[in-house]
């Protein structure tokens, strides 16, 4: 506003009703607006613009509270995009509507500082609706000053979400029609439905009395923030004489006569926050959190010795989700790592899991691993019939299928030169007291049959993962049962394969 921006001057003005008014410029504003390219002694706002008044009230409150050195002012996109020309505080200019999001992160980076999000109605109530609602709902300890002038100023007079019913704008040329554009959004009321906010008030820059109220509201919001109490929001009904096509005095009156009836002035929220106490997570040294240092009593690095009679060995585990398919793969991979091999584990992921089936690929290799995706596994561990049918054909000649049943489905034909071992692992696990160890029974069989990894390493890994003593015992038995099954049955069966094929 031109009349308030004669910088460095104390200006005398005789107001309408004959009183002398002294305008002073807050020290919180820069002496000279050097970030502007010209007219550095005055603001860029139009005469009579509410932004100028709102700036002045905020600056004075910050100054009175001694907060200048602690404040970060977040400027929006809108006519106040250049707020940083004026406020002699730390300034961050952000994207249209996103000030509450950016302010959130600034406040969390600097929790004892004052963070102000200053926004227009297009910025806050249209494009940035999600950001303001969620910042308020999280109870971010910031102060939001929401300048509601019912119009898009900066872009030249398009309809705002707060434009009054019937008001014309360049994008509502016949007046705002609720049937087409909806009704004006009441942001203060809307935010007051939320739990977290501490203070919400609507004020108007319509006349001296209301401006004094606005001054108090702004100061109060900043005090609440200073005291760390929570989210504060002041909606400021504000004149935009230029777009409204009114002179400054008419525009102020219009705020009172037309806007206030639609946007009633009120304190919508003023209460001590009732935030449950946050249990901050325990703090731990970085190497512990990142598992760089070994867990107490756990694996301490080093290589478990085992003779690997392969260059590459690949295993596909498949079954229902919940059968421990992915876990079995992970355990084998971890074992490979501990035995000094190059290893990779790749799961099926996403919606497929929800439909109930899961599979994963395990590569064990003496060399750097290429694709973690296996087209032809050496071993398929099929934990259910669907997986057997789906993946058996992928197993290459010389490969092995471990099938979690005592017999193959009658109509199933194993691929050529592939051995199939049927092992009723689920039943065996059940007898041991936990169907959950089906995967460990199968692991025992796999290790005994192929000798790809050592059962000793398996127990080491299992001991690290299973903490409960009884459960650990069941796992130990499951592993042994799987191995025993192979010793008892499988070798004989394998030797009696029709084509005589056996490794």
């Amino acid at each position: 506003m031109a009349d308030e921006s004669k910088v460095g001057l104390k200006e005398l003005e005789v107001s309408n009703n004959g009183f002398e008014v002294i305008h002073t410029k807050s020290d919180l504003f820069y002496d000279l607006y050097e970030r502007k390219s010209e007219l550095q002694h005055q603001t860029h706002y139009c005469p009579g613009c509410g932004h100028g008044v709102a700036h002045k009230l905020i600056a004075e409150a910050l100054q009175e509270l001694g907060l200048q050195d602690k404040t970060v002012f977040v400027s929006p996109v809108g006519c106040s995009v250049f707020a940083y020309y004026y406020f002699d505080v730390g300034n961050v200019q952000v994207a249209h509507g996103r000030a509450p999001a950016s302010a959130t992160a600034i406040k969390r980076a600097c929790p004892d500082k004052i963070v102000i999000s200053y926004q227009g109605d297009g910025d806050l109530a249209a494009i940035g609706t999600a950001e303001i609602v969620h910042a308020a709902n999280r109870g971010e300890k910031i102060s939001v000053f929401f300048v509601n002038n019912g119009i898009y100023g900066m872009t030249g007079g398009q309809m705002a979400p707060t434009t009054l019913v019937g008001e014309k704008s360049t994008t509502s040329p016949w007046g705002r029609r609720p049937a087409n554009e909806g009704f004006p959004l009441h942001m203060s009321e809307l935010l007051a439905t939320l739990e977290a906010p501490v203070y919400i008030e609507r004020v108007a820059l319509s006349d001296n009395k209301n401006i004094m109220k606005a001054r108090r509201a702004i100061k109060k919001a900043l005090e609440i923030q200073r005291d760390g109490a929570g989210f504060t929001f002041v909606e400021i009904l504000s004149p935009c004489p230029t777009i409204w096509g009114k002179d400054p005095v008419e525009a102020r009156r219009w705020v009172l006569d037309r806007m206030v009836p639609v946007f009633p002035l009120n304190v919508f929220r003023d209460r001590k926050p009732e935030m449950p106490v946050n249990n901050a997570p325990p703090q731990r040294p970085v190497p512990d959190v990142l598992e760089i240092t070994p867990k107490e009593g756990g694996y301490e690095g080093g290589v478990a010795s085992h003779a690997h009679r392969f260059k590459n060995f690949t295993i596909k585990v498949a079954g229902f989700g919940g059968q421990g398919v992915l876990l079995l793969g992970q355990l084998l991979t971890e074992m490979g790592m501990r035995e000094g091999l190059e290893v990779s584990w790749l799961p099926s992921y996403g919606p497929e899991m929800r439909s109930g089936s899961a599979h994963c690929h395990v590569c064990l290799s003496k060399n750097r691993i290429g694709s973690p995706l296996i087209s032809h596994p050496n071993v398929l561990v099929a934990m259910n019939e669907i997986s057997l049918r789906k993946f058996a054909s992928q197993v290459g000649p010389g490969g092995l299928i471990l099938y979690n049943r005592d017999a193959l489905p009658a109509d199933f034909e194993a691929p050529p030169k592939v051995r199939v071992i049927c092992i009723p692992a689920s039943e065996m696990a059940d007898k041991l007291g936990s169907t959950k160890t089906t995967n460990i029974v199968l692991m025992g069989a796999l290790l005994e049959e192929t000798e790809c990894l050592s059962p000793g390493t398996a127990m080491g890994v299992i001991e690290d993962k299973v903490k409960k003593v009884e459960l650990l015992e069941t796992n130990r038995k499951a592993l042994a049962a799987g191995r025993h099954f192979i010793d008892e049955h499988a070798h004989l069966e394998a030797l009696s394969q029709p084509d005589g094929y056996a490794e």
Binding site: Q68, D69, K70, T71, V72, S75, V81, V89, G90, N91, V92, Q93, V94, A95, R98, A101, S102, T104, A105, I106, R108, A109, C110, K113, I114, V115, A130, E131, V133, H134, P281, P282, Q283, R284, V286, P287, V289, L290, E291, I292, T293, P294, Y299, E300, G301, Q330, T333, M337, V343, S344, W345, L346, P347, Y349, I369, G370, S371, P372, L373, S375
Partner: protein, 349 residues
């Protein structure tokens, strides 16, 4: 100690090692474990994790944290990255360092959650508005998910620019051994940040330059910075010394290509591999050098052909550059790529 770790988790472990203490993000498959492990780990080392209301909010939170001088990151996949593009343009314009991870899935639209490399254009060419660049790093293993995240933080700070870790669904989801070494990070002092202190009171973070001359000057400065950043180009070569056909691929594809080179060589075909590690800056010089000795280049991507354009620009017609791509989440097998190499090599003689 060597630990078995998921690629997505390794990203967060690397980030914490790099001194990242702020994470703002929104879940999406196949990147969600990044948010999940950030939620688990970062608060335990005194940092901030917040699940934002959207990727739009997340990237603007990243903007706020970066403005306050914090090492900050976010991660997402295709659709989420699309939403972040405006924010990334602002970050680049305001010269704010941050790390953004894209665990690429199939597109366009909702596509699917399987791996693709179809966000190359969006990340490398700058998917947002205006003249800007992202630094883009392409990990091919779980170890690199951590290591390149560390590097991304360093480069982001060095150049005051967003750095992208461009991975894919497989690299995010797979587990491999991870070796991490803890060292105390001395975070660089950011004198330009806005922290609500007397020393930083005069600072301004902004991307708006109203006067054409001012904006031009700003962009010239950015350009000069981007030119300086070319020294950061990184790549890896395998068996290129005597190669007749050069295979070029990044990320997960480079692993399959490496195996393909081995298979091809066993059968007497002299194939070599060049894997760009930085996609921007692109390892142009290395590529030109390698290309000078081969008769043909075959670029393989999980896309319809995106990086291949940069390869063609680099070699500038000196050797034929052919392309083979799989999309939709299909990752070619070694046999498939070997067949491609054989076919194309046959045409040489």
């Amino acid at each position: 100690m060597r630990q078995l770790c998921k690629g997505n988790v390794a990203v967060v472990k690397g980030a914490i090692l790099a001194g990242c203490r702020a994470y703002y993000g929104y879940p999406i498959t196949p990147a969600s474990e990044i948010a999940e492990s950030a939620a688990l780990y970062i608060p335990q080392v005194g940092g901030t994790f917040l699940q934002a209301e959207s990727e739009v909010a997340a990237i603007n939170m990243v903007y706020g944290a970066a403005a306050a001088g914090v090492r900050v990151m976010t991660a997402s996949s295709g659709p989420g990255l699309s939403l972040m593009q405006e924010g990334m343009s602002y970050l680049a314009g305001a010269e704010l360092p941050c790390v953004v991870v894209d665990v690429v899935r199939g597109g366009p639209g909702l596509g699917n959650i399987a791996p693709e490399q179809s966000d190359y254009f969006a990340m490398v060419k700058g998917g947002g508005h205006g003249n800007y660049r992202n630094i883009v790093l392409a990990p091919a293993s779980v170890q690199e998910m951590a290591d390149l995240t560390v590097l991304a933080f360093e480069l982001a700070d060095k150049y005051r620019n967003p750095a992208v870790v461009l991975a894919d669904g497989f690299t995010g989801q797979m587990m491999e051994p991870l070796d991490l070494e803890y060292r105390e990070i001395v975070a660089p002092e950011k004198l330009w940040a806005v922290k609500g202190t007397p020393e930083t009171r005069a600072n301004l973070i902004s991307s708006i330059y109203l006067e054409p001359d001012q904006l031009e000057e700003h962009q010239r400065r950015l350009e000069a910075k981007y030119i300086r950043a070319h020294v950061e180009a990184r790549h890896e070569v395998y068996q290129t010394e005597d190669a007749e056909i050069l295979l070029v691929g990044y990320g997960i594809v480079s692993r399959v290509l490496r195996s393909t080179v081995e298979v091809a060589r066993k059968q007497g075909l002299k194939a070599g591999l060049l894997r760009p590690i930085t996609l921007w800056p692109f390892p142009t010089e290395a590529l030109v050098e390698a290309a000078s000795r081969v008769q043909k280049i075959l670029v393989v991507e999980l896309s319809n052909g995106q990086m291949v354009e940069d390869v063609r620009l680099a070699v500038n017609g000196k050797v034929p550059v052919e392309f083979y791509g799989r999309v939709g989440g299909n990752v070619p097998s070694v046999e498939e790529l070997h067949a491609q190499v054989l076919e194309r090599a046959a045409a040489l003689v």
